[in-house]
């Protein structure tokens, strides 16, 4: 019995007492005021707890998973996350397998079996051809699936993440996944305005709104034709193209209608170079946004056979003169990179490094690097492995040569200030002295009507201005009038003079179709020869003058005319069917003349035997190179704008 015991503990759950317990507790309560007070307190406590105001739902508390749409989103999220994880695991397993095999994933297998590397050299590792272009994309696909799936999964209470994930998916789809990305999309419009769009063709993602068609697939058949060919880098016959890798496809920074396919050319010795090969001339262009079906590509020059003309054979092994194998010249690596990457030389069919001029002492050469059309940088490239020296800031440099003593570089340039004064006389003559690895320059004369290089002798720089012949020292100062009343009329652009090395006999184009010879102490020319002078050069002994006779209207072939000092014609030979010509270069003994000709936009190495008159083309197939005759006349410096400077010996038959 509990009559004499308090029941306060049982009062805490008084409602749940069994009938027996309740009777016992009630019996005790009847005699115990303390426990009655406790029960009252518990009931008051219950009442106050129940008195806490209820709240009503302010929004729908139904879990969204219960709706079919929400369930579908949740399942989709689960599937996306699982798919993302599977993609990542698959890629990881593949990478582990490939790593154990030592191959490079994601590149193109294109190694011809016929290529035999030189002894001691190893071909680059063969790349593996992946079964699907999606494979390298798996990490990105997996990460995207995980992200979007996560947004879906975390959206049971709030639809915003799912909506965000959906919008993100659609944006990614129309921006990067063909064919959806061919639709107008924000990313495409952004890159159209901002420029700089490019993509990795080994991945399946691309914005087809900017670059339609498979640019790399368009180019690949043409590249395949080059595999195994020699002369691409640029002249060494021992280094055929082993394979190539297409690294990037993008829009040209300045030309939205040109796609650049950045390609690494890998040669048989393992060396490689990267070039952006352009695709241009789109056949189908919708408002400039749609590049497809390119009609031309920048490999045209590489594919050019550069064959001999029918009546002008290449020099052969039995020819009296031929070139030995070209070998890479050891110059500073910075010099070798002068012509490495320049989309322009693919686009405008010109090479970046242009005409080469060897210094008289043989220690350096001049090379002009075309930055953009009308913008050239002139460089002195030392042969002692020191870095190349910029002669001037980039400008519209026209012609250039060394002074006769090799101390200075003289060049003509379009002078914007002179152009402002008189647009008919916009040119200037500048000089730069090369000292201690630096070029220090000055302007010798300006407001000249011609961009032709002035005559250079040890006495100074000879140029025609108004109707007189003037001379100025290389160090500058006031020009001295040498001959006045030289021309009966205002000189045209062809008015320039070539003094003999002794400075006592001068040749100049007195009219477009007349070449005049005059003694330095005379006032009137003593000889007038009917040639349309394009270029001319005195022999080293000053006894003969080589003149290029070129008719601008192509009525006759380009000819080399050799005149005596007195003006007698000693030899006339056709050297090119047409095209531009560089100044003739004499060998030191005067026995041969080398001329760079440009028929059909190709570069030819023409040599003429001054005694026998035999004309030979020393080019070889695919060469298509600029050259400069060495001061000793025993070798040629070569460059074709596709990497490095090369040396080939001149081999004369005994």
């Amino acid at each position: 019995m509990i009559d004499d015991e308090h029941v306060s503990d049982r009062l805490a759950f008084y409602r749940d007492l069994s009938p027996t317990e309740r009777r016992e507790v009630e019996a005790h309560l009847a005699i115990c005021a303390q426990c009655r007070a406790m029960l009252a307190a518990c009931r008051r406590q219950d009442a106050m707890l129940k008195g806490i105001a209820d709240i009503r739902p302010r929004r729908d508390l139904r879990p969204r998973l219960t709706t079919p749409t929400r369930r579908a989103i949740a399942y989709l999220g689960d599937a996306l996350v699982l798919g993302g994880l599977a993609a990542l695991l698959w890629m990881f397993a593949l990478q582990v397998r490939l790593a154990s095999q030592g191959v490079i994933p994601g590149t193109i297998e294109n190694a011809p079996a016929a290529i035999v590397p030189e002894p001691g050299l190893t071909l680059p590792p063969t790349a593996v051809h992946l079964p699907s272009p999606w494979l390298p994309a798996l990490p990105w696909v997996g990460a995207a699936l995980l992200a979007v799936g996560g947004l879906f999964i975390f959206s049971p209470r709030n639809p915003a993440p799912a909506l965000l994930g959906g919008a993100l998916s659609i944006a990614l789809l129309i921006s990067f996944v063909p064919p959806f990305s061919a639709l107008p999309n924000p990313a495409g419009v952004y890159w159209r305005l901002a420029g700089g769009y490019r993509y990795d063709p080994r991945l399946p993602f691309k914005n087809s709104f900017l670059i339609a068609d498979q640019a790399d697939r368009t180019l690949r058949p043409h590249l395949d034709q080059l595999v195994g060919e020699v002369g691409l880098s640029p002249l060494d016959p021992a280094q055929p193209l082993a394979r190539y890798e297409i690294l990037r496809v993008g829009l040209h920074p300045q030309h939205n209608r040109v796609a650049l396919v950045t390609t690494r050319f890998i040669y048989a010795d393992g060396s490689s170079r990267v070039y952006p090969v352009p695709l241009f001339g789109p056949a189908n262009d919708i408002s400039g946004f749609w590049l497809s079906a390119w009609r031309e590509d920048g490999l045209q020059r590489l594919r050019s056979d550069h064959l001999a003309f029918p009546d002008q054979p290449f020099a052969a092994s039995h020819s009296p003169v031929r070139l030995g194998p070209a070998r890479l010249l050891a110059v500073n690596p910075a010099a070798n990179r002068l012509d490495e990457v320049n989309p322009g030389h693919w686009l405008w069919d010109s090479v970046r490094v242009q005409r080469l001029v060897w210094s008289p002492d043989g220690r350096a050469f001049l090379a002009a690097m075309e930055m953009d059309p009308g913008q050239r940088q002139l460089w002195v490239v030392p042969l002692d492995n020191s870095p190349p020296i910029p002669v001037d800031s980039p400008a519209d440099i026209r012609e250039y040569d060394w002074s006769s003593d090799g101390r200075a570089v003289v060049y003509t340039v379009a002078d914007p200030y002179a152009h402002q004064l008189d647009p008919a006389q916009p040119y200037a003559i500048r000089v730069a002295f090369i000292r201690d690895g630096q070029a220090v320059g000055d302007t010798l004369a300006t407001a000249l009507p011609t961009d032709k290089l002035p005559g250079l002798t040890r006495q100074g720089v000879w140029f025609i201005f108004e109707d007189g012949l003037w001379r100025i020292p290389y160090e500058g100062g006031a020009p001295q009038p040498m001959i006045t009343g030289l021309l009966p009329q205002r000189p045209n652009q062809s008015a320039y003079a070539r003094p003999a090395p002794d400075g006592e006999r001068l040749a100049y184009a007195c009219q477009p179709s007349l070449l005049c010879l005059i003694n330095a102490d005379a006032t009137q020319p003593d000889q007038q020869i009917e040639v349309r002078t394009a270029e001319m050069a005195w022999s080293p002994d000053g006894k003969r003058l080589a003149v290029i006779d070129r008719d601008p209207n192509h009525r006759y072939p380009v000819r080399l005319v050799i005149l005596s000092r007195k003006g007698e014609t000693l030899l006339t030979r056709d050297i090119a069917p047409h095209g531009a010509v560089d100044p003739p270069q004499w060998t030191p003994d005067g026995g041969m003349i080398f001329v760079q000709t440009y028929p059909q936009d190709g570069r030819r190495i023409i040599t003429v035997n001054t005694a026998s008159g035999e004309v030979l083309d020393l080019s070889q197939e695919h060469w298509d190179a600029y050259f400069a005759l060495a001061p000793d006349g025993k070798s040629l410096l070569l460059n074709n704008g596709r990497g490095g400077f090369w040396l080939a010996d001149i081999i004369r038959a005994p």
């Binding site: 759950f13 106050m48 707890l49 008195g51 806490i52 739902p57 139904r62 879990p63 219960t66």
Partner: protein
């Protein structure tokens, strides 16, 4: 449907997905507001109580396949709700489900709404109880659970529930005073 009908009678024997969906809908319609107020009394925050209610029913939905075999679905549902609140407390690193008091005005002890003020004092006192005492007390007094039901919902023995009720009342008395 009276509240006790669902409580007293075990659910029938539907086994298909559609049937469990119907059972869940009945459960939701019946207990949406009680669960909300239960969680409100546990947490003291309306918005949090709503979120936890939704979370509790989401969990119940995922486990709806258990519904046909339950003897006491109400206890099952309150156990889920209690766990949801407990999990939230852990996530929020709150040792007790105490709301922040800093912004609440001081209570006035005199005036025309003295009863309401007393109730508010009681609510605050309740929130000062440790969860182990607060949960059975609320279930017993506010949700009118029996000791057996509380034991089932909290997976405790009836004796333990009784002990906690005794201690809870003592502590509440101290906190209220």
């Amino acid at each position: 449907m009276p509240r006790t009908q669902l409580l007293a009678a075990p659910l029938a024997l539907p086994v298909t997905s559609a049937d469990t969906h119907v059972l869940f809908e009945r459960l939701f319609a019946e207990y949406q507001t009680p669960i909300l107020n239960y969680l409100y009394r546990l947490t003291g925050e309306t918005a949090l109580a709503e979120d936890l209610t939704q979370e509790a029913f989401a969990r119940a939905w995922k486990a709806r396949s258990q519904l046909p075999g339950l003897d006491n679905p109400r206890a099952w549902l309150y156990r889920i709700a209690t766990n949801a609140a407990r999990d939230h407390s852990r996530r929020a690193r709150l040792l007790a489900w105490l709301p922040l008091w800093a912004d609440e005005p001081a209570l006035q002890t005199q005036g025309p709404e003295e009863a309401a003020i007393e109730a508010e004092r009681m609510r605050r006192a309740l929130l000062q109880l440790p969860p182990d005492y607060r949960v059975p007390l609320v279930l017993y007094t506010c949700q009118e659970f029996s000791v057996a039901e509380i034991a089932e919902a909290l997976e405790l023995s009836p004796e333990a529930v009784k002990q906690r009720l005794v201690r809870a009342r003592q502590k509440l008395r101290e906190a209220f005073e």
